[in-house]
Symmetry: C2
Subunit: 332 residues, 2 copies
């Protein structure tokens, strides 16, 4: 690849690593606590990241949230709308976090947010992002894939506009959730914790390499774009679920689901089949926290995205870029 | 075995099957709901069991409990002590259940309580009881083992007096928890749900066979008697855990743990070893609900218990037995 095909991107000055956005997803909680301890220690060089425990009250009670799901509170509307003293705790907290890491969409926002999550689904390590053309996130993903060949790894794309994006990672200029499973909520499993720890280390390594001028070659990434969700069958009166994920589908995240494949097994023993028209990739199969959201599983289409080689902009390029951006904004 | 070696035991007139004693252990919740639906249906013969949803408020919120752990509220002291209007919800509820299924220790108590539970630990199907010489519970266990050869199955004995016994199943004349895992709390997995459903069916079958005069041959059962618990290493200031179950121990419930075997892996990566003097059988390894109880795992000693052949007493024997009991109680 010729040097002139390398995309030059702004330096990543400030990176945030967040845990405990959901207070019962314990790998992130214990990893950020551990990194804070390391940071306090004087032997090693300081960690090149801002460490955040996002929902301390939910963490204390080992619950996903206190009043409402914090990780749905970062839309433009929620962050800028009126808020009373009686607002849900997480509405208040999302503004604090937006002040600390954002403001979302502004030049002051941190350059990269990595928000740590766990799932009860058998998803391995996933980066979940709102863009399928954010070369920074995609290159970090490629780097993790290369460095951790034993961990099943996927890149999930939620096709939602920046304004409607709702999660903490949307506050940064770049951002993604690092989602690892299977791990029951309220439990920490060594293997999942370690995968997250190693994933975060490689992510920070990549940022350091990038900032110091390393050229990362282009290539491709398989991107899973979320298409829709499927809810459990429910009793029309009580709204209670009447079936569980079928045993042949359970734990088979990212294994292609074909029309007529078993989807649910009712509590009386009947098999219900997938009635979609096209084969799609299931994920978040039987995620604990999504029962209340009406999601038994999500479905994705897979597509290969070609990504260019990247390197950091030299300081003078960056300055020129900033000026240019300023000009073009004025011209709009 | 000669017929005169058969132990004759009173008929099991009333059997209770309870789910939702912990509101987020979903196999039992959905199984009892399903059995209630079957019972309502008119096609089949009525189920020979009293069906109970033990903690409806906790079930509604999908939490283990509202104020305090219901399954620790059935000691003699808690059931008979003073109770105010401001008492924890579960203290009130335990009295309601004791009135319905007990009173504990009285002749009016139901004959058998089977209380359904799930664990995040990889324990297969366990019956947990306070006695290692309750021939009814041990024969039911043997029957389940024979009928369900593909499910790993153990009998756990908590060596606690009847007065100090604290769980719902202690309210019946006979009783046990049927504990099945691994299943994250707040999630229902088809395979675990089905194992529980089949287990309950075989249990009720056994009761029917027994009541109709079947002689069950003697034999032996391996009984795991709980010896002690081990807590996580914790930070002396914050009391936060500083390590997770070691990856080599995780999911190895009932695999003998030897002195110096890996026990924990600290969040900084160090291995901590088992410092006990004798090899013991670990169980409830990394059970979600026990973090707050200070239990990372429990340890048991295994012992083979010989059980006699049993059959139901004939009605006249039972009457004679009752009169005798009455007399001997008077003579005490």
């Amino acid at each position: 690849m010729e040097v002139d095909e390398v995309v030059c991107l702004p330096r990543l000055h400030r990176v945030a690593v967040c845990g405990g956005t959901h207070g019962n997803e314990l790998s992130g909680v214990y990893l950020v606590r551990e990194l804070l301890k390391v940071e306090k220690g004087e032997e090693k060089e300081p960690l090149p990241a801002l460490l955040v425990l996002s929902n301390p009250r939910a963490m204390q009670q080992c619950r996903r949230y206190i009043d409402t799901d914090l990780n749905r509170c970062f839309t433009h509307a929620t962050l800028t709308g009126p808020v009373s003293d009686a607002a849900p705790y997480e509405m208040i907290r999302s503004r604090e976090l937006n002040a600390k890491l954002g403001p979302k969409g502004s030049p002051e926002a941190v350059d990269l947010v990595c928000d740590l999550h766990n799932t009860t689904a058998n998803m391995g390590l996933c980066l979940i992002a709102y863009s399928d053309c954010d070369w920074i996130s995609l290159h970090i993903f490629k780097h993790l894939q290369r460095q951790m060949p034993d961990i099943p790894m996927r890149y999930i794309h939620f096709d939602v506009s920046n304004k409607e994006s709702y999660s903490l990672d949307s506050v940064g200029k770049h951002g993604f959730a690092m989602e690892i499973g299977p791990q029951p909520h309220g439990v920490v499993r060594s293997n999942i914790y370690t995968a997250m720890k190693v994933g975060v280390q490689h992510m920070l390594d990549w940022v350091r390499f990038f900032n110091s001028g390393t050229i990362f070659e282009g290539g491709f990434v398989d991107v899973y774009t979320m298409i829709n969700h499927i809810d459990y069958p429910r009793d029309s009166e009580t709204h209670n679920i009447t079936a569980a994920i079928h045993p042949q589908l359970q734990d088979r995240d990212f294994c292609l689901l074909h029309p007529e494949d078993p989807l649910f097994q009712t509590f009386s023993g009947e098999t219900l089949r997938y009635k979609g028209n096209e084969p799609l990739y299931p994920f978040f199969i039987n995620e604990c926290a999504y029962y209340e959201k009406g999601i038994a599983l999500s479905l994705a289409r897979k597509r290969r995205v070609v990504i260019p080689a990247v390197r950091v902009q030299a300081e003078q390029e960056q300055q020129a870029h900033n000026e240019e951006e300023f000009t073009s904004e004025e011209e709009e």
